[in-house]
Symmetry: C2
């Protein structure tokens, strides 16, 4: 896309180009506002972008009118002249609703344009005996509460992203979620019966909130995964739009954007009942040839070992999944909710309890075998421990590092960092909400004037 010094195009036959220029320049100005260390004035933006002051002012007016940007009083400064108003991202503008279905909990959160978490809720419930429709009804309750809270805080719903612990097709079908016992569950269709899950967009009733059609035209991840088929379902309706994606993928994207700017490369390991992974290469999520990458939990660590729910033997999940760890530590079957059990496990390990330490050491070694294989294969420099592994990182980290030292051919020259997730246990649901917000920031024109459905 071109970027001339002025946003004006003179001739009559260039409507399409003019529209795309405006789209480009809106995103450009918004990006400068987002990345500025202190609130820039319109003049600052004109300097930074090379656009004329008149063009910048018109664009900023549009951004303010669309609740994307707010004016703030400038910092006092010495020198002559009236100080100009500064511009910041709006905290009462569009927001993303993040939802997560996991095996033993449901979660919802609301994130605003600045990335601030404005609401979050988790409901512990073992979903393994529960049919998809009942799961969605429960999730609908969580979503309704989140939307009411967002509305009370004067936020506008831009869209919803739903994290699921399974393989999701591009049309929103969950092909397989072994730990939920789901196979070929058409979540996108089922969600039509639960309007609370996507809510409404008061700002522009009756208009779709996001582009329909191929995801590349409005990639809600903001990841520029061009050329890679994005395995999500998406739907435009009266309020917001919906993305369905694998939980480890959304968590990895959340982790990517929570970290320092720059093209990070890491393996995000999501520890829950199941174990998933998101592979971030040079700042972009790698989704695989068909969108189904990251099934770390089914890497064989003891090929003739324990049977797995997936039908294979010796999968990592059977040695380092939540149930394997809690069973090893003697904490299974005590009726403790998972988060309480994990907290108890950490206390016991801290106190030097042998069963707890042994279970964590065994899980860490199994994780280390799998992770060492991944690093030998992909040459990654960072491993991020997410989900239940985040609060247990002090105990899981050392055995993982020991396996890496022993097994990774390049370990002597290329140190590998193993660290807990910056988003702790909530990376997937926060990453989901954040993906909505990043899509708005990347394509503000779609929020201001949604394309025809």
């Amino acid at each position: 896309m071109t970027h001339p010094g002025s946003g004006q195009v003179g001739t009559a036959g260039t409507a399409v180009r003019q529209a795309s220029l405006r789209e480009h320049n809106l995103a450009l100005v918004l990006r400068h506002i987002t990345l500025s260390e202190r609130p820039p004035s319109r003049a600052d933006l004109a300097n930074a972008t090379g656009l004329t002051r008149a063009t910048v002012s018109a664009l900023v007016d549009d951004l303010i009118g669309g609740n994307l940007v707010t004016e703030v009083d400038p910092a006092p400064r010495t020198g002559a002249g009236r100080p100009a108003l500064g511009l910041v991202l709006a905290t009462d503008g569009p927001a993303g609703l993040g939802l997560e279905i996991n095996v033993d909990y449901l979660a919802a959160c609301v994130v605003d344009l600045t990335g601030a978490v404005r609401h979050r809720a988790i409901r512990r419930v073992d979903l393994r005996p529960v049919p998809p429709d009942e799961v969605l009804a429960d999730l609908g309750d969580l979503a309704a509460t989140a939307l009411a809270e967002a509305s009370r805080q004067r936020l506008l719903l831009a869209g919803t992203a739903l994290a699921v612990p399974g393989l999701v097709t591009s049309t929103g079908v969950v092909r397989l979620a072994p730990n939920l016992g789901w196979r070929d569950v058409d979540l996108a269709a089922a969600l039509d019966a639960h309007p609370a899950l996507t809510g409404h967009r008061p700002a522009a009733p009756g208009q779709p909130g996001a582009p329909s059609g191929p995801r590349t035209s409005g990639d809600p991840t903001g990841q520029g995964t061009s050329g890679v088929r994005v395995p999500t379902g998406q739907r435009a309706d009266g309020g917001g739009w919906l993305t369905i994606d694998n939980e480890a993928n959304l968590a990895a994207l959340g982790e990517l954007h929570a970290g320092p700017p720059g093209p990070a490369t890491f393996l995000y390991v999501s520890g829950e009942i199941g174990i998933g992974a998101g592979i971030v290469l040079h700042g972009a999520l790698f989704r695989g040839a068909r969108g189904w990458s990251g099934e770390l939990g089914h890497l064989p660590v003891h090929p003739s070992g324990r049977w797995c729910r997936c039908g294979a033997q010796g999968c990592l999940e059977q040695y380092a999944g939540q149930e394997a760890i809690l069973t090893g530590a003697g904490l299974a079957g005590q009726g403790l909710p998972a988060d309480a059990a994990i907290a108890r496990l950490a206390e016991l390990a801290k106190a030097g309890d042998q069963a707890a330490s042994g279970a964590l050491a065994e899980a860490g070694a199994a994780l280390g075998v799998a992770v060492a294989g991944v690093i030998n294969l992909l040459d990654l420099d960072t491993v991020v421990l997410g989900g239940i592994y985040a609060p247990l990182a002090s105990w899981l980290g050392p055995p993982i590092e020991a396996e890496i030292r022993q097994r990774v051919l390049t370990a002597a020259w290329s140190p590998v960092t193993v660290r807990p997730s910056l988003l702790t246990r909530d990376a997937a649901v926060l990453g989901a909400a954040g993906s909505v917000v990043r899509a708005v920031l990347a394509h503000p024109a779609h929020w201001l004037t949604p394309p025809p459905a």
Copy 2:
């Protein structure tokens, strides 16, 4: 880079732009000649490229003068007028010298612009007790023969690519080649003592044959691996230029270009004394965060199993490497050269010999465990068996496929093809020579007028 309808730029201050336009247009015309089903005329090229006939004629004259293109008599046609001469890639122009150091053989080959193999030689010799300098002296003999043969066939050396079974840095140092016992061997420096290894370029004496500086400016792989550090050493000298790269990477690139056009995604598995892999994603080699991806041989398949030369336990190499297979089949220690032993193994397996079949089944199962892990992680759709695995694919394929069926979560929806390499056993050395030729085709201007060193 822009591509106006005419190669002419009028004003005086545009020398740089004019030069880069010429570079672009030379490559464009050459690409059309390469991809045409029948030899195009200058008029055909003007139609296909949108350049003027005068511009095309000047560019074609340059390509002919630089030995890149030859005129051929056209196919007879009906209709009026004198038929125009057709243009084809020259078979007496620049050629690539491919060299390979492996654990139990050395290889050399010469490939011309059309991709035809004009010379190939292999020397079976166990290099494990041999110091690097002696290896290079031996390789120098092979290279000298290859260059003499190339010269006899009126080919001009464009450059040399050397395949090594180890981890190569961007400055041409072999950090580690466990099966050779090499650690921190500065191959780029050592090669200076062996000028026969890079030869001379009679066409333009005294001029470097390839761009110096960062590889992205003249990526000899032609892979457009922009943003990924290319782990090779490269050196401009009086004759040609030199690339050093991992053997599985060069083999995977060879396989990529030997296949049908299009953005292929596959895992190339290189079976030799060691086991390496090249990962091709959407038509490009994935090299990892630091250029050291693909160490498939050290994926743990039995974490508490046999000790490996790398210092770890249970590496794939110990179960599916050449020595494990030959030992299992009772063919080790008989003084047979490896290629004869592999041929004998195939004969025995075909005849139903139990030890041979058992060894291949065990190796196939171990390969299947590792490959299933890779597919769970990366969601690839094709596995290519190269090196000694190519002639053994009939026996290794079925157990690999069985493990994939059992262990890959998505196997039911996403079939995975397991097949032998199109280049059979010689993929690495052919891929090396081909990488030189593809660099010339991608950047013909560098061949015609090398940039300053």
